[in-house]
Symmetry: C2
Subunit: 334 residues, 2 copies
């Protein structure tokens, strides 16, 4: 298996990306194609190509975080994200992974790989830690102003993702709402409830914000605006809590107590750390495209490659194709 | 000053409400009118009326949490929330406080006290802890499917709230969005940005979910669906983190370390505890109506009474009236 990795994307590129590539090749046995500035990549590799498992494809341009994603992708045909995605399109790679601009990755995937027939809007699905384990939340930012039909497709794609990647036979799908009752919600959720209830998804009803993290659902669907705000609020709150904890810790005088604390906190931090979950696949595009966090270091990159590998092995794209084709032919998607 | 307190509202009514009333009367020197089932209230009071500062008004009915708020409030004229709100309308009380059904309290406030002229949609404003202190988030559930004009009014009311109750001379108002740039957002936030920028509010631009808890804003405005989901997600995540922390703690073998932990955690918990902040005033109704958390115990009730007292003393309702009248006469509100 070959994974195209955008070596220039992310806050710590190319150094941490190259390190992550080497780790992934060694530990997962996949072939990594590093895409980006050849000289800089070679320098970071320092001769270590993991017995030929890491190779380089030169791409002289980079899409910066502050550029408008769509026009940048259209203009910069030689940017690392465009070239890496092109490799998937041509069959030279099985998947693309990037920690660069999410917008640019989405635009590249849409323009180059295209949407799966029947999919109206691709969605970003992220995993969040809960009391029970993890939950897949989607969409977390690919789409705003969604329609009920979009949420239904998110539910279908999220279910397949949970089935194939998390190994859950019949994932419980909840609709993020402001109350548990069917009569609660805004225009979007009221209408979405009805079509989800009539679908063949294992729809478990409305869930409220607090239920996301307390468990009870395997997949939670919502508009991308709401999902993005929830995801980033959770990040902010976790950071803020850690900060407050440190302040409290600073007031503690004895050293033994402090050592215990630091130990517990790092253990807790690992459970919350996005780097453990690695990457969020862009669901609904015709190929495997995995989005990694902008602040990814080597470990997060290696885990994102692992997600890409599993997504390819489990045939998630094919599964979405088959399911949404059936849906379309039943005339349910319109 | 007299505060009407719904003695039958909340998970721990009437016991904890009565206790909170006694504490509030003692500590804040306000007169509390407990409204509800006279016999049950008298039994809980056990003869302690704080030298006449706590009195009782009988109301035989209760609006339950599972009832439809609007129809319940219309039907149950003798329910504790309706009678308590009526006391404010008649001038027998300066404010109403309840930990019962939020929907029922909103409906009572709207039907009995009415909206302030020029206010299109009253909003619930809640305080959240940040790295810097607190932030007022509104709306957190009174309204869904908001229009830009509603968000502008939330910004005006939230500013006055922060000025009067938090004592901030020129509160920084942020718009909750999925990116910092003016071009980011859904239909609602894109249009709201424009009118907020042109207003005389101290508008500091878009903020993302993570910024809510990291500080930088005094007031954050959003649609009530989004605000409700953010508020409840934060509650859920904090609970889930505490749970994970306890699990980690359970693995710790030495007793000294565990004692230090428990100490720090309770200190941290206090900083996060809604009970410290007490109550969320319903902004935009023609009277003071303070919403307390459904799980309020005595301390939260006392703090909600304190919020009600400050809201009356600072003349927040009058300030909103004056400001929104001016706005209306400028023709800006339509």
């Amino acid at each position: 298996m070959k994974i195209a990795l955008d070596a220039m994307g992310g806050d710590h590129a190319p150094m941490e990306i190259v390190r992550g590539a080497i780790d992934a090749a060694q530990e997962l046995g996949v072939h990594i194609i590093l895409v980006g500035d050849q000289d800089r990549i070679m320098k970071e590799m320092d001769g270590n190509d993991v017995g030929g498992l890491v190779s380089v494809v030169h791409a002289p341009e980079v899409v910066r975080m502050d550029e408008h994603p769509v026009s940048a992708v259209r203009k910069k045909k030689n940017s690392s994200i465009v070239v890496a995605t092109q490799l998937v399109k041509e069959g030279a790679a099985d998947a693309v992974v990037s920690a660069g601009s999410t917008g640019a990755q989405m635009a590249s995937s849409l323009f180059i790989l295209g949407r799966i027939a029947g999919v109206e809007r691709p969605a970003i699905s992220t995993l969040l830690p809960t009391m029970e384990g993890v939950v897949a939340l989607l969409d977390v930012g690919a789409n705003v102003d969604c329609k009920p039909q979009h949420l239904k497709q998110f539910a279908i794609m999220g279910s397949l993702y949970a089935e194939k990647i998390l190994g859950l036979p019949s994932p419980r799908v909840g609709l993020l709402n402001i109350g548990a009752e069917e009569t609660k919600g805004d225009e979007l959720t009221l209408a979405s409830y009805k079509i989800l209830k009539e679908s063949d998804i294992n729809f478990t009803g409305n869930i409220e914000g607090r239920d996301i993290f307390l468990g009870g659902s395997d997949v939670v669907v919502c508009d991308g605006f709401v999902g993005n705000v929830v995801l980033k609020s959770a990040e902010g709150l976790a950071l803020s809590l850690m900060g407050m904890f440190k302040q409290e810790l600073g007031r503690l005088e004895d050293i033994i107590g402090r050592e215990r604390m630091v130990h517990i906190m790092s253990s807790l931090k690992r459970r919350l750390d996005y780097a453990e979950y690695g990457g969020a696949p862009l669901l609904g595009v015709n190929g495997v495209s995995v989005i990694s966090h902008g602040s990814s270091r080597a470990r997060a990159i290696r885990n994102a490659v692992r997600v890409a590998k599993e997504t390819v092995e489990q045939g998630l794209v094919q599964a979405i194709k088959e399911k949404l084709e059936t849906e379309s032919s039943k005339g349910v998607t319109d």
